[in-house]
Symmetry: C2
Subunit: 296 residues, 2 copies
């Protein structure tokens, strides 16, 4: 993207300010939804430079685990044999919500500005990971993201949606992690557009998810649905630890480990070779995870 040499520092600082304000807003909204549990706050410093604030809510009435993390870090990248790692700076916000009910989807979004050397770009995205499929929910979520894209990066939604499908994919399972959303790295738009998109994305994302919660959180479920949820959460763990670039970047650059891994689901099962019965609601989810749809 066409950032001038002077831009990266300013854009990182601006996104860091936006992220801090959004963190308060998102946590307040999730606390209002839950009504029972509250966020804890951990401020941390990265030994190599920078730091962040991790806010986590656990064991709530509606939300089993949620994390809203902001960070603004900088330093040296790990060197590889024969290659100087160079320096980096990254500011951003990430949010993940693991609801208690298997009928409410796990939700994740993040926005970041990453600078390497004298250049930098905006990255981020939002995606939904349901255990049970409600077409209405999927369509509404994707439409909200499409509207967001049309406002800030007109004509680009389809490409960002495809990028999410490509990114949130487990090749060893032949499955996507969820029903996708949008995803972008080093977005090639004017910096002010990138900043505006990054500032609005988390709010749009949370509003879309809250509308889903409103419809699904009070539906009854039993042990079978809960079991399926814990199995699907196993796939979430597989994706985050094996593939997710943010997680692996964090592990390699030595960020605060509890903040990096706060996205992992609270309770998980890894049974051997569990397969849903043909024709079941669980099998219907797998069909969509194996062949993403255009929901918007």
């Amino acid at each position: 993207m066409p950032t001038s040499p002077a831009d990266p520092e300013r854009l990182r600082a601006e996104l860091a300010r936006v992220a801090a304000a959004l963190q308060d807003e998102l946590c307040a909204a999730i606390e209002r939804l839950d009504g029972a549990a509250r966020f804890t706050t951990d401020r941390w410093e990265r030994p190599g430079g920078g730091g962040g604030v991790s806010r986590v809510l656990q064991d709530g009435a509606v939300v089993e685990k949620a994390g809203v993390n902001v960070s603004d870090v900088h330093g040296a990248l790990p060197a590889r044999p024969g290659v100087d790692g160079g320096t980096f700076g990254a500011a951003g916000l990430s949010i993940v919500v693991h609801p208690r009910s298997p009928l409410v989807p796990t939700a994740h979004a993040n926005v970041r500005f990453v600078a390497r050397g004298g250049a930098g770009g905006f990255g981020g995205g939002a995606d939904l990971t349901p255990c049970y499929l409600f077409d209405e929910d999927c369509a509404e979520f994707h439409r909200a993201l499409k509207d967001l894209c049309e406002r800030h990066v007109p004509g680009r939604h389809a490409a960002l949606k495809r990028a999410a499908d490509a990114y949130f994919y487990l090749p060893h399972r032949g499955e996507h992690r969820g029903i996708g959303g949008i995803f972008f790295e080093d977005l090639d738009v004017a910096p002010e557009r990138g900043l505006a998109l990054a500032a609005e994305l988390p709010r749009t994302f949370l509003a879309a998810w809250l509308a889903i919660v409103e419809r699904r959180a009070r539906l009854p479920f039993g042990e079978a649905e809960r079991r399926w949820q814990e199995i699907r959460r196993g796939r979430y763990v597989e994706f985050n630890l094996v593939h997710d670039r943010g997680t692996r970047f964090g592990l390699e650059t030595g960020g605060r480990i509890e903040s990096i891994l706060m996205s992992l689901p609270p309770r998980v099962r890894f049974p051997y070779d569990a397969r849903p019965a043909p024709g079941s609601r669980e099998a219907a989810l797998l069909d969509v995870l194996r062949a993403p749809r255009d929901w918007a």
Copy 2:
């Protein structure tokens, strides 16, 4: 190791035969211990060459999940940019047992012969992952492995023990996965010695673990111990998905996914920033995981 060009094929075939016989023996011993659940058997073929037999026991009285896997696979290694991947062949057995009781350690061992091009070598190891520390159990387990080493690779135990401590380590946690054992790759001994060690290791390992089960499986435990066990199992997941070379090799070379990931624990928790109380039994375990001891 000094294998002649004709050796690798023969050694792989011999270890494959040994592994198949050991699989029956180990599964029978675990079924006798458990008394309730039985192993299932899945035979699979690897599209690129070879195959294996996965045997899994779940939801037993003593054993929550156990897998005993044999495989004999061969084919092309993934190419990297500018580098032809070459060919490989690998035969071996791996066993992992996740007990129900938090007072019984998770146990893992594997033996393998891996050939690349015209050369090859034996690899493997055995290690113990307790959630609660019983010095007697740790010492007995390590002494059994030391005796095994003295019989087959005299004078080498200390190096193999250190290799296990180095291998089963989570740098992002500053913790070892468990209390170690032995670990080796491309063992530089005469092929017949390597084969003899590989043939005896799984049997010695299981006998040592069964002696521990005998002492601990009937001890009472409650929800607090179970919770700690599920948290520690989260570290097991982190190690296997982020670091374990066998798992990552399997994911990259496209083996049967359920066999590769059968080692994952059945039920797991990932709470945010869980820390045991100072002076507790849980904290005592962490002390040892942060500074391995010489148990033998």
